[in-house]
């Protein structure tokens, strides 16, 4: 039996147990989900600013649609295994995972995906409220763009997960790997389009951002969902997402493999 098949075979049970575990921490998860609703705050803020005149060519309705899409994408790409990895590596509870015949990163991946149904439960009333108050913000793109969005948002989730795996693996090498991730998160907040669409940046900055990984985790699927990115251009950006998924896949794998050989299993 191939390794991939063994991992897939074990996944339904892992998913079920992870979901049950996630629900056990429902208050904590609800807080996490609510903190991811920052796009609604940004929506109100930028909408007010854009009310006077379009910003960088984006009208008020386009800005609002962007942040409504950002709310959805943020929920669909949520991952926070960096905290879990940091905790388990430093206090030694990773040992239990290392003694199982399935790769620990696969276990965390299933755990990340298993939180999605619960995130949807929290997201649904927010979307319902938005659909009732501002129906014009939630127009679905055409079917081909919807398919592009599905591909792009999956890649964004994979990239977010791999970035966190890479930073989480730093806990094998340093005490304060979370500090490094906080630095990344600070940059990400500004450069991914989370606080403001990257279209608001000067063109020279946009040219640089185009090749950086930040947009690939948020802005690209948001722009597809909000109708700003279509067809060939969208495919081009999805290509960039694929490159970054590969790059962070290699970084995460290298850091994990090197780190696990240094693991000291303290406290267990």
């Amino acid at each position: 039996m191939s390794s991939l098949w063994r991992h897939l075979k074990a996944t339904p049970a892992m998913f079920r147990v992870s979901l049950a575990d996630t629900v056990a921490y429902r208050a904590e998860l609800a807080i996490w989900v609510l903190t991811a609703t920052l796009p609604l705050v940004m929506l109100a803020l930028w909408e007010t600013i854009a009310a006077g005149a379009p910003i960088a060519g984006m009208t008020k309705i386009e800005v609002s649609r962007y942040f409504a899409a950002a709310l959805i994408v943020r929920q669909l790409t949520g991952a926070w295994i960096v905290w879990e990895m940091n905790f388990e590596i430093r206090n030694g509870s990773l040992s239990a995972k290392l003694l199982k015949p399935l790769h620990p990163i696969w276990v965390w991946a299933v755990w990340t995906v298993s939180a999605m149904p619960f995130r949807m439960i929290v997201l649904t009333p927010l979307l319902a409220l938005l659909a009732w108050a501002r129906p014009e913000l939630l127009t679905l793109p055409a079917a081909p763009d919807l398919a592009l969005f599905a591909v792009s948002v999956t890649l964004a989730l994979a990239l977010a997960f791999l970035v966190q795996t890479a930073f989480g693996s730093l806990a094998f090498f340093m005490d304060r790997s979370i500090g490094m991730f906080s630095l990344w998160f600070g940059l990400w907040s500004f450069l991914s389009g989370y606080i403001a669409p990257t279209a608001f940046f000067p063109s020279w900055a946009q040219n640089i951002l185009y090749y950086l990984p930040f947009r690939a985790t948020l802005s690209i699927p948001v722009e597809i969902l909000s109708g700003r990115l279509h067809g060939g251009l969208a495919w081009q950006e999805i290509g960039i997402q694929c490159v970054w998924v590969c790059v962070f896949g290699i970084i995460a794998r290298t850091l994990w493999n090197t780190g696990v050989a240094r693991y000291e299993a303290f406290g267990s």
Partner: protein, 319 residues
Amino acid sequence: MIEVEQLTKVYRVPIREPGIVGSVTSLWRREYKEVRAVDAIDFSVAAGERVGFLGPNGAGKTTTLKMLTGLLHPSAGSCRVAGWKPQDRQRDFLRTITLVMGQKQQLIWDLPAIETFALNKALFDIPSKQYAETLSELTKLLSLQEFLHQPVRNLSLGQRMRCELAAALLHRPKVLFLDEPTIGMDVEVQAIVRQFIIEYNQRYEATIMLTSHDMADVARMVRRVILIDRGVVRYDGSLEGLSREFGSGRTLVVRGNGPVLDRLGFSLMEDDKRRLTISPDRVNEVLGDILRELPQVELTVVDPPLDDVLRRAFGEKRE
């Protein structure tokens, strides 16, 4: 089943001066010291053996077990378990072994233990029939039935440990590494667990290597012990041999009275019993003296308590 050659583990530990000055200094200049937790040890364990791996705190017991289970990579030397190099963590190796460490391991804290068992069934790819059989057997032997469906966080330490043991054995491993398997348990649960481990060893011909500070565990469960201290193996042999090598002597207990006992220096215990501790090479001579004068006397020769033997072993070697 277990082969260890010149196995060594050196930790690099940061040293930081206490207080604010130490914290600030460590920002740009950090010093390290090397700690040899395990220092070129050799031993082997045959299939089906039950071996006690003993030593004081910080002796290197747990570090050795972690290397044997693949959690730690050795700094030097080699080890093989069931033919595998543990640090490669190959799937079949992980299905062959298990490690139970104290009370903190694999149970999912907020869910009932049965959920962890179901997860392990999937992770270890245990066939449904075998899973049902093993679970029923473990439930019976470890008396898990009444708390199997309660969240782990609501279980007592003893109940949790029994569930840990069950979770670790569901895949029927052939090599068991048990680090303090009865720690924190009450006497009744300790007896259940000890009996269970012996039965598991006999039923599946499993190899068992255990560490414990509870000498009752050791006396009840193993026949061979390996003593490790400061990362070095000090003794490898039978329990009886350990008493001979490190025991302060043997204790003669006599029920009765007679001038010979006073002459030999016996001291009075309770219930008309008298006791004398002598070196092993004097036992035959003293027995002869007593039996010549008191041929009907009830007399027993007792090995010194294992605690005393170990205290002496580690004390002597450190002097």
